[in-house]
Subunit: 460 residues, 2 copies
């Protein structure tokens, strides 16, 4: 296979020479999925010429790699027949995603290019809510009736089986089109030709509802370990199937959403590299401002201790250290709990188990950090007069507040996601920065209270 | 179907009555995946009795739901023939995962219960490194030779086709067992019986290497949208296949690892709810201590400004607010960049594009927060004498440092993951807390330098 860099030049040259036989030979050894990303970088005009000369499968695969603007421009460059052929060749779920991004009038105009069957399909797919199973389904399934013989089924597959990878389960529907079973294709290959479908049925099958959210579909796929699942409507009629490769994309999109929320911004819903700067700033600014307003309470809290700081400036030095340790512990706890919730490792009513774990972990972690903090101040003081003659009080204040602040951080970090979920919000909203902000304010109160206890009458 | 709560009681009663016919009728309407999680909560002794009476598929599915300790105990309760039947019925990849958790001598003892074929298979799977494709593969594929006719292929499928969902691609191998093509099963159904396999070949196929890391496999599955991919060894011989449902688990495990690292702890590698407390504390403590040692630099940095704080205690009040804003901006940037890197949205050499974006976003976000901060101090001062007569200087200091700190945070947060990746580390290591710690120290320097500029000769 030629080097990637040359492919674009080679193809452009062949198209200019209009040597379509050589072009066909050139493209033959490539899998569409391998060459489509390279081709998709060609100018739209060259692409239009290429699409006219190459296979529908290559055109459809390449089309999926283009930005929506490029897709739209390309369709305009093709004549109506070519555009219709391309749109008809797109997998229904990709087509739905494309049409969905367009203004409604443009989408309707493109819909009119489809064959009547495909048109009806596209319209029915668009009627399902975003992120629903209905939007992801395809019609590449084979449905048969219980009264058919095995021979009839095999003949039917030969005539109507779609050329996709999903032909391993045959669905059985009743007269009203309601799903009543699924049967592996291999059972038909093994059964005597005159046997009836109903005699192969066991009545065991798993389904998705077209209105199910994609997250729920992902859960069901994880549970049943299937490569495809049938989709039924509210009357239990079979309306399509969803394949597991689409679930990979769902899993990835859901993880991206959670990760971005955990990082303290709204989910971008678009790739980082292509989202408009203004849009990204907006998504990040809203949370930053909320966190900023919350963090302002630290200034208020500290102003209550202004007198103490004036008397013992040394106290101010350790403020960032102490409160950030609480924030870090809280961020760990929140992240672990949010992920465990997302994976279904425990339910809300297990909150007390989580709380017990986090109190124990927080105590252990707090003692470790407290000891490190105490030793650090003691060591420094052994070799210098940096913290003054009262360094044991400073060291004790820092050490003891660390135990309290880290425990408090772990507790808040673990309970906040559960509280948010209980109230019907997304637990991932309790991001690392959010928990840190909450813990900062209370951390200050803990720190200055401990200081007051140790230093009253001495430094304060 | 009976309510979940009753299932366990019902089954226990049927087993005590030894009414195996009724037991069989009771279990019939259930899909193994639905009832296995309920059954798996029964005492091990009851499970052993149930396994003796129920189908192998149910036993194998239920077995996968048990903890490793329960699995081991259960195998001991069954007689050797029953244990061997169960182990032989387990999907090879689940069995590998189970054996892998056991001490080597126990694993070898269990291996000896398998049929010679399954034994050889299990041993060969165990020889592949953890998290490699070899560990996930199964042998449920059908391979044919180019010189066979379509009729021979169909006969072969009838005799040797395994009863799994993966029978939609038939693999073609040469005399040495090297993979040379894959062909959809439907093409055999449609072709004339005397046609040769080689005449159906197009030489286009995608493969995984047995030594590939699971992350790489996930990438390849995402690219080709396949439900199964063939696995080849170093001599290009076909040794197994991997199905996409296993990739769902990989995607989930990889996201969990990244999320836990982003939250500022090591990846737990075990469920949050079942990991030993001591183990979890260890994984969290190491990072907390590192962050704590880093954060100690804030105390050092602040001690340089002790004189300034003593003169203007009001400065200390805003320290947490200013530095945490930088940390929050940095945490956002780091998270977005890490996820974009994981999704392959850009490569390392695009670093300057990311930098330009983050400088622009950081400036915008800094201006927003700076304005909010300035207004807040101005408003408070309009109604009180809280910040003294020099409040405009305080407000200007806070406002201007916020611009600098937020820009700096965005820059550090976005560049650090890229730097880590360049040095060969996991970019997810630059967690939100890690970035916040780094930004805290520099944030202090920015804040006090700005303060010095504005207040020199007035307050300082």
């Amino acid at each position: 296979m030629p080097a990637q860099a040359n492919v674009k030049a080679d193809l452009t040259a062949l198209l200019e020479r209009k040597d379509f036989a050589a072009l066909k030979r050139y493209l033959e050894p490539w899998l569409p999925a391998d060459i489509a990303p390279i081709i998709s970088e060609l100018p739209v005009e060259t692409l239009a010429a290429l699409f006219r000369a190459s296979s529908r499968e290559l055109a459809a695969t390449t089309f999926a790699y283009l930005e929506h603007a490029g897709q739209h421009k390309l369709l305009k460059l093709l004549n109506p027949e070519q555009a219709a052929a391309l749109l008809n060749a797109l997998p229904p779920d990709d087509r739905t995603a494309f049409l969905n991004e367009l203004p409604l009038d443009v989408a309707m105009q493109l819909l009119s290019m489809l064959t009547p069957d495909e048109q009806e399909l596209a319209k029915s797919l668009l009627a399902y809510p975003e992120h629903s199973v209905g939007r992801m389904m395809t019609l590449d399934f084979v449905a048969v009736h219980p009264a058919w013989t095995v021979r009839q089924v095999l003949d039917y597959i030969r005539e109507h089986g779609y050329d996709r990878e999903t032909l391993n389960l045959i669905y059985v529907v009743d007269e009203e089109g309601r799903l009543i079973d699924d049967i592996r294709v291999r059972r038909f290959l093994l059964a005597p030709p005159e046997k009836l479908v109903r005699d192969l049925m066991d009545g065991n099958f798993a389904t998705l509802a077209a209105t199910d959210d994609r997250e729920k579909a992902l859960e069901i796929f994880r549970k049943y370990d299937r490569v495809a699942l049938p989709v039924t409507d509210e009357h239990r009629k079979l309306v399509g199937i969803v394949t597991v490769d689409d679930m990979l994309d769902v899993a990835s999109a859901e993880a991206t959403e959670d990760i971005q929320k955990l990082g303290g911004s709204e989910a971008l819903d678009e790739p980082y590299t292509t989202i408009a700067l203004s849009k990204m700033v907006k998504k990040r600014a809203s949370w930053l401002v909320v966190l900023f307003l919350g963090e302002m309470l630290t200034a208020t809290a500290m102003s209550y201790f202004e007198g103490e700081i004036a008397k013992a400036v040394v106290l101010a030095l350790f403020v960032p250290l102490v409160i950030s340790s609480g924030g870090n512990a809280g961020s760990q706890a929140a992240t672990l709990v949010i992920r465990a919730l997302a994976l279904g490792e425990f339910r809300l009513h297990d909150w007390w188990r989580v709380m017990r774990r986090e109190l124990a972990a927080g105590l252990a972690l707090g003692l470790i950090l407290g000891a490190v903090g105490f030793l650090r101040i003691a060591l420094w003081s052994a070799f210098s007069n940096f913290y003054g003659p009262h360094w044991p009080l400073v060291a004790a204040t820092v050490g003891v507040s660390l135990v309290g602040v880290v425990m408090w951080g772990s507790l808040m970090g673990s309970m906040l996601p559960l509280l948010l979920k209980r109230l019907g919000f997304d637990p991932a909203t309790s991001s690392a920065p959010f928990v840190a902000t909450l813990v900062d304010v209370t951390g200050l109160v803990i720190y200055f209270s401990v200081a007051y206890g140790f230093m009253r009458g001495v430094l304060l």
